[in-house]
Amino acid sequence: MDFDAIVVGSGITGGWAAKELTEAGLKVLMIERGREIRHQQDYTTEMKMPWDMPFRGHGDSDLFDRDYAVQRLNRHFTEFTQPHFVNDAQNPYQTGPDTRFTWFRSYQLGGRSLTWGRQTYRWSDYDFAANARDGQGTDWPIRYADIAPWYDKVESFIGVSGAKEGLKQLPDGQFQPPMALNVVETHVRAEIAKRWPERCLTVGRTANMTEGKPEEGRAPCQNRSICARGCSYGAYFSTQSSTLPAAMKTGNLTVITDAVVEALDYDPATRRVTGVRYIDTKTRTRKTARARMVFLNAGSFNSVHILLNSAPGGLANSSGVLGTHIMDHATTLSAAALMPGFEHHTTFGNRPTGIVIPRYCNMDQMDGIGHARGFSFQGGALQSTWTQGNRMAGIGAEYKEKLRHPGPWRMVLVGFSDCVPRATNRLTLDPVKTDAHGLPQLRVDFAFGKEEHAALAQAKAEAAEMLIAAGGKVLMGFDQPGPAGTAIHEMGGARMGHDPKTSVLNKWSQSHDIANLFVTDGAQMSSSACQNPSLTYMALTARAAHAAVGMLREGRI
């Protein structure tokens, strides 16, 4: 099997790499470790009601503890979505003695594009310049101007709804009409703006479409908010709904599923990768595929895993930093408050996004308390339903009558802090433990530092202040981050940088050491920002694919 390019992984960035490379005329092989999931046909729980499910959507706790001990901690993991998450018992990983890391994974065609939170935010120069400004981590070799046109391209294609707010720290994009703030959120936005003009509460920019793309077989969002089951309307961006059909249309794409890539083949004479070695998990046989270049899009940690497993000490690792400086946003429930005064208001439909309050500190003035970077909030206002009964004493007719009607309005603000890149937060191969295929297990060592704790402490205090200013009664708030991995924004490990001595990739997401090797998923990230990273991964992937095609045509790789 010989191809122009091999794309390892079929998730958010793998789909983009496949689309861009095939549309440029390259013959591409996409290799996915998990099973095939066909758009529409294979979303098996999408139309199920709770009473259709053995455990009513809540799931079998014994099964989840046994086989999904990590995945079940993901808030998107339910009995309905369980088919879209990995079996932890069959896919083990190791953590250091002081590390708590919940690694949420989806090993299937489409990867986590099926289960992602769909929040879609541009990064700004506050983010791309963060490492240079405070000296932590290595400087990004790109700035906002380098990526802005690629953001345009990606947003237009995947379909992003959002409101333009003219913020320097969260640049506007190519948006479809925004989803609506509900009555309470509209009130809170106004109250916050009155007292803190620099703080903007806006509706979450989300890859759920408010306008259809009939020419691509995609309908607008139906406001079900059960996205992670898979969406037959194609209303949110996933590989299946968006990039895969585009790549297939070219006639240039070959897809192999149930194939775990264990290593890249490297030819030291030419200093090129020649292809990949993979395990066909259905037949348990080892196979090889060859290509002129390789795009690693296996997911941040798994792309690093493949490089670590490809050569002693790691392939493409002359810098020695492969696996280091991994990050995940530190996140916690900063404040939850009752919002009285809206008892005669309600909503209809399930909006599949919340609100965001973008970063507002450490921008042009260093005003963070004990930290040098940013934090932001996501959350929203909602009205209680029957689950409020869990907290309510009483039985009988009166109790049933109370639960029959919508309960009080609440508003929650969840803080997300920038994560400082640190050499000590790193991935290695476990020296002893192997997985079902005999491959060394990945080991994660990770701890948040004083910067993240300081940011979340400030976030807690200011979330409460904002909700109180809007008339809320704060019920609770936390300043300690959940386990690392909770934000599901794990990134880094093959960072981009100017200097081959201190970084793995150059500004084209291309290995400094190996010209025909590109890593365009989250592994390439040099810093974390405090907003969701998937859009940036996609834009960098499209940008890298364009550059790679040019290099290939010029005979440089």
């Binding site: 809540h58 908010s225 909006r351 689950t387 049933k400 309960g407």
Partner: protein, 177 residues
Amino acid sequence: MPKMKSTMERREFLAGMALLMAVAPMAAHAKPAPSPYQPLLREVAQLVIPRSATPGAGEVGVGAFVLLALDHGLEGTRGFDHAAWLKTALGTGFLTQPLARRRSALAALDARAFAGDAAAKPWLAIKRLILLGYYTSETGGSKELQYVHVPGRYDPDLPLKPTDRAFSSDWTAVDFG
């Protein structure tokens, strides 16, 4: 098809088949072991959510669901026999007492649990399972409350009248409300 002795038998058979068809594909592995606590849980569920304009929790099978859920450790119930505990907590003669006595005994247990009495704490998980069983049943979820699988739109501000029913399909509210 087996021969039917009477129309009643035939009707029951068809109803049984319909039920089997409805649950068979996914629920085949999820049958609870036959439990001596079934009558107790059915009655307790019915006392928590009694019949109003819609059926009560006991009537729609929530007792059996709670036993299934306890069997599989839902709501952190593994490692402790909640059903046996409930029987002891309510007394052996509970089911033979008049309705008013049954109601007041359960209300007293509920009040103690919500007042923080550690000895009554297992009730909190049982109550959560009763609510889960009822409001995710077709009756509780779509007749007592409203269930809309495909809303098709989002209205951010509508007047709420005192008679308006909540939505069991408001997933954000279910998770965080």
